[in-house]
């Protein structure tokens, strides 16, 4: 969205989202034929003032998003070698010893753990044409920061939120090295992780569907 559009929308917001509803109610009153003891409701307040102010501490406690510019990456570091040990202990049971995907049956009720490692095909991005291609971190994920965000957010699937920052950096380092995106001797921290460029980074395009004639 453009800045101009955002400003226009904010302008609309400043008039109050209830303005239309109040006007509609006024129109249904029928132009002054109310009984003497019935009056139009007063306009709603500019703000209701409900809710309580959020403290910086409580925001920090739950805002753990990590975004492509590196925002939100915590202190800490990890290497592929350290990550291999974490992966073997906490991830491999589902994702396979080398990140090749579900080995054996997943736990009851769970989907098969996806394959995480693999760069094929190295040329092009033929996922739309070839239904047999399997998406991995190496061939499809456009941002390395998303791997960190998602691992910290939701993994391991039966105990999310239990990896330390160093363990998370290490697991991400292991996955990126397994996918031949970073060197096996690399050290990942907030600066080096944000600098990683993923192979599929430039393959994603904005939605160009608009409705109307012409299927896209």
């Amino acid at each position: 969205m453009t800045t101009a559009l955002a400003v226009a929308l904010l302008g609309a917001c400043d008039r109050g989202p209830l303005a239309d509803r109040a006007a509609r109610t006024q129109r249904t009153l029928g132009g002054g034929r109310l009984p003497p003891d019935v009056h139009a409701a007063p306009a709603p307040p500019e703000r209701f003032g409900l809710g309580r102010p959020a403290t910086a501490a409580e925001i920090a406690a739950v805002d753990r998003d990590v975004t492509p510019d590196g925002h939100g990456l915590p202190p800490g570091k990890g290497t592929p070698t350290q990550g291999a040990a974490v992966f073997a202990a906490k991830c491999a049971a589902c994702h396979g010893p080398a990140g090749e995907g579900q080995v054996g049956a997943p736990p009851a009720g769970y989907a098969a753990a996806p394959k995480l490692v693999g760069r094929d095909p190295r040329d092009g991005f033929p996922f739309g044409q070839d239904p047999k291609l399997v998406k991995t971190v190496g061939n499809y994920w456009p941002y390395a920061t998303t791997v960190f965000d998602y691992v910290r957010r939701a993994m391991p699937v039966t105990a999310p939120g239990t990896l330390t920052n160093d363990e998370t950096y290490a697991v991400v380092a292991y996955l990126l090295a397994q996918n031949e995106i970073i060197d096996r001797n690399a050290v990942l921290d907030s600066a080096t992780l944000a600098a990683v460029k993923m192979p599929a980074r430039d393959k994603f395009v904005p939605d160009d569907r608009k409705g109307g004639a012409g299927f896209r």
Partner: protein, 461 residues
């Protein structure tokens, strides 16, 4: 693939098992029920009741019979509190008083609509579209799609935090949300993975539930998100919302500010009661017309930001690889779509008898303008009747009276929305999006009528 929805095999097997559980001992009550329903249908001017009778009469084994083979009956366990029992159905209900009032209304024991599959922690259960009439989805049949199971939240401890590029970072309790001016609207909610197994692993023994059961429609109540944003004061420079759920996957998506200020809602009720836990209790994001995944359940946090968060479910998932070697991102609006719900597998049709072709149409871009129905494999089309009121971004029921001439044929529905967008053919869809594409499977669905009247899902190629 299993990440997003059950495979066709799993789901079709599940439906097949239910079909196999016919029980001849229920013949008498089944006939009684049919008469009752037919009488109701005769007295009704609407087509919806007829649709259900028609579908039931056409099924190779009736749902009434399946109901008799429920686990409770098979094991001799008493029916659940408030539930009715086929064995208690008298020969003549006019000769003795029936059961008294109860706290919760139970279905007729002859009616056993059900989601399938069950027991899924990360994945989906599907709405039985072919067992429903009209346009609203009963709350206990709304499809589920979870990423870490159903989050169970205590409403007394519920909090929604709005922060980031706002003037007043604020925490709203559930009471706060209830005190604010509410809005109620009807709209559909569809997973953008809906139709994946029919596209990728089609089988002719697929019911409408298995083909497209990840869509539901109903009446939502909540607080306009624009009002909450006005309360906290959006700061200049904000253009996206980063939204997070309170489940064990802390599911996160980014939503354009433009949508948030338009018609987004923090919903706390559905079909007249509090949200069910599986659908986001006590509060969720509702983005009318947007793909289901972005409608964050158990919503706990909204951060106003200057761009999207590029979370997993808007990068590695919920992006659409295209035939041209790119992947479409933030493809949030659901395309115009429709599906015939009867006649459809496992139903059958009788030659030279009037019946109706009926189904659902919807679009994420507005109202349904027209639904065309073909009974000759797309060679010619007839305009179906739409049930009023046709609401924007809501399931719309269509119907067309029809007589089968006894020859094998293919039934199709093709919806057009008010923007003029029309459902593509399978061939056009595949040429534009690709055989390996993912999400937004909006092409025309087809049903093949065999010489014996049995209807199957038509496997496109």
């Amino acid at each position: 693939m299993r990440e997003e929805e059950p495979t066709g095999t799993q789901a079709a097997n599940s439906a097949g098992e239910r079909l196999a559980s016919d029980n001849p001992t229920t013949q008498v009550p089944r006939r009684v029920t049919r008469r009752g329903l037919l009488a109701a249908a005769a007295a009704s001017a609407g087509g919806a009741v007829l649709a259900r009778v028609s579908a039931e009469a056409q099924a190779p084994t009736s749902r009434a019979a399946q109901g008799a083979a429920s686990p409770a009956q098979a094991t001799g366990a008493p029916p659940a509190a408030g539930a009715f029992d086929i064995a208690s159905v008298p020969a003549d209900p006019t000769r003795a008083p029936g059961p008294p009032t109860s706290a919760l209304g139970a279905r007729s024991p002859f009616e056993t609509p059900a989601r399938t599959p069950i027991g899924v922690t990360s994945g989906a259960s599907l709405t039985p579209l072919h067992q429903l009439s009209g346009t609203l989805t009963p709350s206990d049949l709304v499809f589920e799609r979870h990423h870490a199971g159903v989050a169970l939240l205590d409403p007394a401890r519920y909090e929604l935090l709005i922060h980031g590029l706002v003037e007043r970072p604020t925490v709203f309790s559930l009471d706060d949300l209830h005190r604010l001016p509410s809005v109620t609207r009807t709209c559909f909610l569809e997973c953008s993975g809906n139709g994946r197994s029919a596209y990728k692993t089609p089988k002719r023994e697929m019911t409408p539930q298995i083909v497209d059961g990840m869509t539901s429609s109903g009446e939502w109540t909540g607080v306009p998100l624009a009002l909450l944003l006005h309360e906290v004061g959006v700061r200049r420079g904000a253009s996206w919302l980063r939204v997070e759920g309170g489940d064990a996957s802390r599911l996160a998506r980014s939503v354009p500010l433009e949508k948030a200020l338009d018609d987004a809602m923090i919903a706390y009720a559905f079909n007249g009661e509090a949200l069910r836990p599986a659908n986001g209790y006590p509060a969720r994001l509702l983005l009318p017309g947007y793909e289901g995944n972005a409608n964050i359940k158990w919503i706990r946090r909204i951060e106003l930001a200057d761009g999207p968060g590029m979370f997993r479910d808007e990068t590695s998932k919920y992006t659409d690889p295209l035939a041209n070697g790119t992947a479409r991102q933030f493809s949030l609006v659901m395309d115009v779509k429709s599906i015939i719900t009867a006649p459809a597998y496992p139903g059958r049709v009788t030659p030279n008898v009037w019946t109706q072709i009926t189904g659902l149409a919807w679009s994420g871009r507005g109202r349904i303008a027209r639904v065309d129905v073909s009974a000759d494999g797309g060679a010619s089309w007839l305009v179906a009747e739409l049930q009023d009121p046709v609401m924007p971004l809501a399931h719309t029921r269509f119907r067309l009276s029809w007589q089968w001439d006894g020859k094998p044929t293919v039934l199709m529905s093709r919806a057009v929305d008010e923007t003029g967008a029309i459902q593509p053919t399978f061939a056009e869809f595949r040429s534009k999006r690709g055989a390996g594409t993912d999400y937004h499977y909006s092409y025309i669905r087809s049903w093949a009528v065999e010489p014996d009247g049995q209807v199957f899902f038509r496997v496109d190629a």
